[in-house]
């Protein structure tokens, strides 16, 4: 079985995001970019399945700017066998919307004959939480989202999901789309020897046209604003004064 792991290049979670001066989005020029952390978990899960003999090949796919090949190299260094980069944008600030991404992924999954897609549950930049679900619908496959545990048994996948107040275990027939939650696993460290091996692994470049998909945006970003800065506080001299001020502010 082949496992497809879609990965997205996003602003690194350690970076303090700043809005561009024209208000069109977050400034990504000269900012550290990394693999979406949920996608890293998805890649790790796929590699573990391969190591356990449950899959033959792990293919990492990314859709975005050319620089996403750096991100794919991380997946290859972790242990993915090969990578596909679908170059869909020139400008790092151009985000490809979930529907277009799902359409391309569906085409890749069909072309590769994948038996399982493991994706991150959402990307930490836009928090859409949509691609995995759309992909399952487009492929007509079952879906198991927010997986915190994944077991393959024959033609079925048993997936444990973290839901409010506990755990829910569901079963989906394969092929299926599984989206990874935070506690599914802890992604491995990509060692230098493996980074060097990854250099030699195949990385194929494609375009949306190769899959007959149109990536023009359907949504319009009206404005992006930074959260308002914290206002200066005041110092109070006593508990009574504090209570008074809180009442004044109408919070108690």
């Amino acid at each position: 079985m082949k496992i497809l792991t879609p990965i997205k290049r996003v602003i690194d979670y350690n970076v303090k995001a700043r809005v561009r001066s024209n208000g069109s989005g977050v400034d990504l020029a000269n900012v550290k970019m990394s693999m979406n952390p949920f996608d890293e978990i998805a890649v790790e899960e796929a590699i573990r399945l391969k190591e356990a003999g449950k899959a033959e090949e792990v293919i990492a796919v990314s859709i975005g700017v050319k620089q996403a090949q750096e991100t794919l190299r991380t997946a290859l260094a972790m242990g993915a066998d090969r990578a596909i980069l679908v170059v869909a944008a020139d400008d790092v600030h151009q985000d490809i919307e979930p529907l277009a991404v799902a359409k391309i992924l569906a085409a890749v999954a069909r072309a590769e004959g994948a038996g399982l897609v493991i994706a991150g549950k959402q990307a930490i930049d836009n928090d859409m939480n949509a691609t995995g679900q759309m992909l399952a619908a487009l492929l007509g496959w079952g879906q198991a989202t927010f997986a915190s545990k994944l077991e393959l048994e024959g033609a079925k996948a048993k997936v444990t999901r973290e839901v409010d107040g506990g755990l829910q275990t569901i079963e989906v027939g394969l092929p299926a789309v599984v989206t990874a939650d935070l506690r599914l696993n802890e992604p491995r460290y990509a060692s230098l020897p493996n980074i060097m091996k990854a250099k030699k692994k195949p990385l194929e470049e494609k375009t949306p046209a190769d899959y007959g998909v149109e990536v023009a945006p359907r949504l319009e970003v009206v404005s992006v604003r930074e959260p308002e800065g914290r206002k200066a506080g005041i110092k109070v001299g006593s508990v009574d004064e504090l209570v008074g001020k809180l009442k004044e502010a109408g919070v108690i």
């Binding site: 000269n30 550290k32 970019m33 990394s34 693999m35 750096e70 991100t71 190299r73 991380t74 260094a77 491995r188 460290y189 990509a190 060692s191 230098l192 020897p193 493996n194 980074i195 060097m196 250099k199």
Partner: protein, 678 residues
């Protein structure tokens, strides 16, 4: 006026200390001929300039001939010390920093085969494990002689203009009198607690009479030996109270524990992976019980903890000593509201472990500490802005990037991994070494501040480097583990890195062969043994893990001994062969004539790294200097001027493990001393 508790002045009798942060006494082992000369002075003055309120010079300045230095201490029994100490004190005073010194007689905590070959003395015959001397049990004339020596040494310090001094009483002669474990004398200096304290009070009285009231006196002492039969916490409170009630001392400087073994010493002065500020509450309890000026230091590496110690009334003065080794400008950064810029102490304890091996104290990741005369703590701007391209974001590359950026150059960094760190990242994967990552995180923050461009996930080739049109290229690509040390079966072994990175799962019955002697072998052994596997560490050396050093070894031993790890010294791994589904390892000996065999399921080899130098050699013919470094200029602070190839458009340098396997300090020093002049 700031309302930061740390920045409030403190009135100690007649002496006003400008804030609450002090450097406690420690011996960086910089004296020359037992004297605190230029290097020593430069070290303290750098810190005085940057705002520390009080610097306590000298760890264990020796008051007597029969207390020969164990780590190049100041010889306070020589009159010539006055001139040197005066020079140091005057310069620190010019910068508003108070200066004191710690005086001591080491008692049994030294060796007889040094200096004048006088017998080591103590109030009993009990030997100290760490220094191995069997002491002479003191006679009456030893006691009166040494009391006189203390008073004379104090007078020298008064003459040198110091603000005061403290007497050392943890593990040295003074508390060898205090502790029932090391005092077998009969009265008047043995027996009851008051008798055991008599030596101390005789000295304090003598100093007070000789030096007068306007000279600050304190004692740095253990308030709880943490040893069965030793000084208990109750004794500690009683001693503290007696010190206060004597009216002879002006402050208490509290320590908890005993230092006669490596493990005891490391609990007193914890290293990375151990708890922060473990004895702070204890010191606070003594302050509360005595209501007397209390100082304390023990792994308080960060400003918030120090601030808490003052704000919560646990201490009057907080010692940030190793923190000041890492960043001498710590106080200035607090004053300027730049706490985030403080170079953090990572508790690697390279400073202390080195002095106990007879070396100078160096900070693992501040190569300017102890080299103030030649290395800058503040990087000066370059005369002209250049394009500097650095390959590799390990400690060497990150230090090169930081220094180049602070000089004002336009810096581009290529890194193969998705994050900076190199070998630091690998070692920091283990909880015990997690603090190491701050070495990288601090540099990353400094680089971000100065606009360094990073290209991660990029295994740079020559073309990538040339595309940046660089003026200077620095190759800091590090190395890869080298494990091919066997006559047969090299393909059957894995490296310590394979284990640490998780690339190879631990076996069940494992031989770890270590002739590098650094952290990687112990880390791998610990990781493997923790899975329940049987582990034997084999080394051809006479002792294991020599590069880890005494205090750093302590947490490993506490773990590995519990896990029943075997240590086998003086055996060399010769070959490995398959034997069914097992591995047969053959051990030989450098002493010759013997072999042994081991049947295991995994062999891990730790033999350092070989440089990853392909890129360097690809670039070398294109560079103007053909990679050559002018060592004369490098070591004396001159500019690099080698020109060998008129066609070359850039200069090429190679630093860190990309040259040869060394350590983090070497990598960072390589970078600083080269790039400060680029």
């Amino acid at each position: 006026m700031s309302n930061d508790p740390l920045l409030q002045p403190y009135q100690l009798k007649h002496l006003t200390l400008r804030n609450r942060i002090m450097i406690t006494s420690h011996e960086p082992a910089y004296p020359e001929d037992g004297m605190p000369k230029d290097r020593y002075r430069a070290y303290h003055v750098e810190r005085a300039k940057a705002g520390v309120a009080l610097t306590m010079t000298a760890g264990s300045a020796s008051v007597s001939r029969d207390s020969p230095p164990v780590f190049n201490n100041i010889l306070a029994w020589k009159d010539e010390v006055v001139g040197w100490m005066k020079k140091l004190t005057d310069e620190c005073h010019d910068h508003g920093c108070a200066v004191m010194i710690q005086l001591t007689h080491l008692g049994r905590r030294t060796r007889w085969d040094k200096a004048d070959w006088l017998p080591v003395v103590s109030p009993s015959h009990e030997r100290e494990a760490a220094h191995r001397s069997f002491p002479k049990k003191m006679e009456d004339w030893d006691i009166s002689r040494i009391i006189g020596d203390y008073v004379d040494a104090a007078e020298r310090m008064k003459a040198a203009g110091l603000d005061g001094l403290e007497l050392q009483a943890y593990g040295h002669l003074m508390d060898q009198f205090w502790s029932p474990l090391t005092n077998d004398l009969d009265g008047p200096y043995g027996g009851s607690l008051d008798n055991r304290l008599r030596f101390t009070f005789d000295i304090l009285k003598g100093i007070r009479e000789r030096c007068g009231e306007d000279f600050i006196l304190g004692v740095r002492y253990t308030g709880d030996e943490d040893l069965p039969g030793g000084i208990t916490a109750e004794d500690g409170i009683a001693i503290s109270q007696k010190l206060k009630d004597s009216g002879l001392v002006d402050f208490l400087n509290v320590v908890k524990g005993h230092i006669d073994t490596d493990a005891g010493l490391t609990d007193v002065i914890p290293v990375q992976g151990m708890r922060n500020a473990p004895h702070l509450e204890f010191a606070g309890a003594i302050r509360k019980a005595t209501n007397f000026p209390t100082f304390h230091a023990a792994k308080i590496p960060d400003v918030p903890t120090a601030r808490h110690a003052i704000a919560a009334g646990l201490l009057d003065m907080v010692g940030m000593t190793r923190a000041h080794m890492a960043d001498p400008h710590l106080v200035r950064k607090v004053i300027e509201g730049r706490e985030d810029d403080i170079r953090p102490c990572v508790g690697a304890n390279y400073c202390l472990d080195r002095i106990y091996q007879g070396g100078l104290a160096f900070c693992l990741h501040n190569a300017a500490t102890g080299r103030e005369e030649t290395m800058p703590h503040t990087i000066p701007a370059a005369p002209a802005k250049k394009r500097v391209t650095i390959v590799g974001a390990g400690p060497a590359g990150m230090e090169a990037a930081r220094v180049a950026a602070e000089r004002g150059h336009a810096v581009t960094v290529f890194e193969a991994a998705d994050q900076p760190g190199g070998q630091i990242r690998l070692t920091a994967l283990q909880e015990r070494r997690r603090e190491m990552i701050s070495i990288i995180a601090w540099r990353q923050a400094m680089c971000d501040k100065h606009g360094v461009t990073f290209n991660f996930n990029t295994f740079a080739e020559a073309d990538d480097v040339l595309a940046t049109d660089p003026d200077e290229v620095i190759v800091a690509t590090g190395g890869l583990p080298h494990t091919e040390v066997l006559t047969q079966g090299n393909d059957l072994v894995v490296s310590a890195w394979d284990i640490l990175s998780g690339d190879v799962k631990p076996g069940q019955n494992v031989l770890v062969y270590d002739d590098a002697g650094d952290h990687a072998a112990l880390q791998a052994a610990d990781l493997i043994a923790a899975t329940g596997a049987k582990v034997e560490i084999v080394t051809p050396d006479r002792s294991f893990s020599p590069e880890v050093m005494a205090m750093n070894l302590v947490p490993y031993m506490r773990s590995l001994q519990k896990l029943d790890t075997t240590f086998t010294v003086t055996w060399r791994l010769m070959q490995v062969a398959r034997d069914g589904n097992q591995l047969r390892a053959t051990l030989g000996s450098d002493y010759g004539g013997v072999t042994r065999e081991r049947l295991v399921d995994q062999v891990v080899v730790n033999h350092g790294t070989r440089p990853l130098d392909e890129l360097y050699f690809d670039l070398k013919p294109l560079s103007s200097n053909l990679g050559e470094v002018d060592y004369e200029a490098l070591t004396t602070g001159g500019f690099q001027n080698v020109r060998k190839n008129p066609e070359g458009k850039f200069r090429l340098f190679r630093i860190g493990d990309a040259v040869a396997a060394r350590n983090t300090h070497a990598a960072i020093y390589d970078a600083l001393r080269l790039v400060k002049d680029l």
